[in-house]
């Protein structure tokens, strides 16, 4: 009797629509206790199978029970004096959901049709003069792409997950000492070499600030490097006067 292949239920509304269709019920005149019972039995079955039931199903169960009770009471009336059917809200939700469910089936057909179409695969032999890349800067990008780009740019240097707060044992003073110690051994220091061993972004930033501090104090100077995104750090005149702790 019940040997119909149960489709995927996308939620309680989907399940209710299934019961309505299966029992060939009128959506505007749903026998509420019958459908409530079926719904509860479905939940019971899920429980017997030891399956986790999504919160939305409990919420719907409660809603159905409430409607059922209100059906037994004298009807409330609206401001026009007309009787309010306790089922109205549920019925509207069901119909609204059904509309989009129907369209989603059409979308499925469109998807299938579109998958039969293939686009040109190889553009290597099209001769192009003076490509104008500026015109295509940021073509078809959306905010989501922007967030992704931001996350990736930061994550590249990050080991720990974003939402975890990790306390790094690094201070500007420590990094100033560290730089001065290094610079006492070599005449020049590449910034990239200095940060080479550092995995955490924060440590690099702190080191960077320490460099700026030392420049301000006149302990070190900075010089352009032959490499992009790098610079040279060198000992400045009064560097010796500073305490480095060793």
């Amino acid at each position: 009797m019940y040997k119909i292949k149960l489709k995927e239920f996308e939620g309680p509304l989907d399940l209710l629509l299934f019961f309505i269709k299966k029992n060939e019920l009128d959506i505007y005149d749903i026998p509420i206790s019958k459908i409530t019972r079926e719904f509860m039995e479905y939940l019971h079955l899920m429980k017997q199978l030891d399956l986790e039931i999504a919160g939305e199903f409990f919420l719907m169960a409660a809603t159905l029970m409430q409607i059922k009770v209100r059906m037994l009471l004298p009807r409330e009336v609206d401001e026009k004096g007309e009787e309010i059917d306790p089922r109205t809200e549920l019925v509207n939700a069901l119909i609204e959901y059904k509309r989009y469910k129907e369209v989603s089936e059409e979308l499925g057909i469109m998807e299938a049709n579109q998958r039969k179409i293939y686009y040109r695969g190889n553009f290597s032999k099209d001769v192009k003069e003076n490509p104008a890349p500026i015109e295509t800067l940021l073509k078809n990008v959306t905010i989501y792409n922007l967030i992704e780009a931001f996350k990736n740019a930061l994550l590249e240097r990050e080991i720990e997950p974003l939402h975890e707060i990790t306390v790094y044992n690094v201070t500007i003073d420590e990094q100033m000492d560290f730089i001065l110690e290094k610079i006492s051994q070599f005449e020049y220091l590449h910034f990239l070499d200095l940060i080479a061993g550092m995995r955490e972004k924060l440590r690099i930033i702190v080191t960077f600030i320490a460099i700026l501090e030392l420049v301000k104090l006149g302990s070190i100077g900075l010089k352009e490097s032959e490499k992009f995104n790098d610079f040279l750090i060198y000992r400045a005149g009064n560097g010796q006067d500073l305490p480095f702790g060793n």
Partner: protein, 214 residues
């Protein structure tokens, strides 16, 4: 418009890896032949129609499609089985029913917030939103002015391409509520009602009071 531009338009569309808009074509032609060149978006539209006529007459395996507001060459569907042999790209998984459903609601109600979407679907939709964002079928466009200023979601150009649409208004219309109610399905159900009522009465013998609702 000069006849020669048919070929230029053809070449531009053919050489573009993404749908190219009439605007872009006009811009490209004016950039080369001078701003005074007399060519409009309407000329491009006409030229594309003419080109497609030629492809049909000449029985070419592909033609120019209008997709996501632009033009792009695509094969006729009847060759799909042979082409499936080539590509692994097309064998990627189709969207799930839940994804299609979520997309349908976003497409028609856009811009839409997550709470609004979840009210219609009746289920938590975090996972689906994330999937669709990752697939580039939807994106975020600002925030609603309501309490909590939730993010607003809209469909993307990729969505149009994926479903073969030129613009969002080309989507099939959802049926009106009255239509759904008048639907054959439901009329049939009404006819069934009497039968059901009898059955139910028999089934409900133990608890007749409960069926006040009908």
């Amino acid at each position: 418009m000069d006849k020669i531009y048919h070929s230029v338009i053809e070449a531009l569309v053919f050489a573009s890896d993404e749908p190219i808009t009439a605007n872009e074509i006009v811009k490209a032609i004016k950039a080369i032949d001078g701003e005074e060149t007399e060519i409009t978006n309407a000329d491009i539209e006409n030229a594309v129609d003419k080109l497609n006529e030629k492809y049909t007459t000449q029985d070419l395996a592909f033609k120019i499609l209008r997709l996501a507001g632009g033009f792009v060459f695509g094969t006729k569907p009847e060759f799909a089985k042979y082409l499936g042999f080539l590509s692994t790209e097309k064998s990627r998984r189709r969207l799930s029913q839940a994804a299609l459903e979520t997309l349908a609601i976003i497409a028609y109600k856009q811009p839409i917030t997550k709470p609004e979407l979840e009210t219609i679907r009746g289920v938590n939709s975090d996972y689906m939103i994330n999937q669709l964002l990752e697939k580039g079928l939807i994106t975020i466009k600002g925030r609603a002015e309501t309490v909590g200023r939730p993010l607003l979601y809209v469909t993307t150009n990729n969505f149009l391409k994926y479903f073969g649409l030129n613009k969002i208004s080309d989507l099939p219309k959802p049926r009106e509520i009255e239509e759904i109610v008048k639907d054959q399905d439901f009329l049939e159900q009404k006819r069934q009602l009497l039968k059901n009522a009898i059955e139910e009465t028999m089934l409900e013998e133990n608890s007749p009071a409960e069926e006040n609702g009908n």
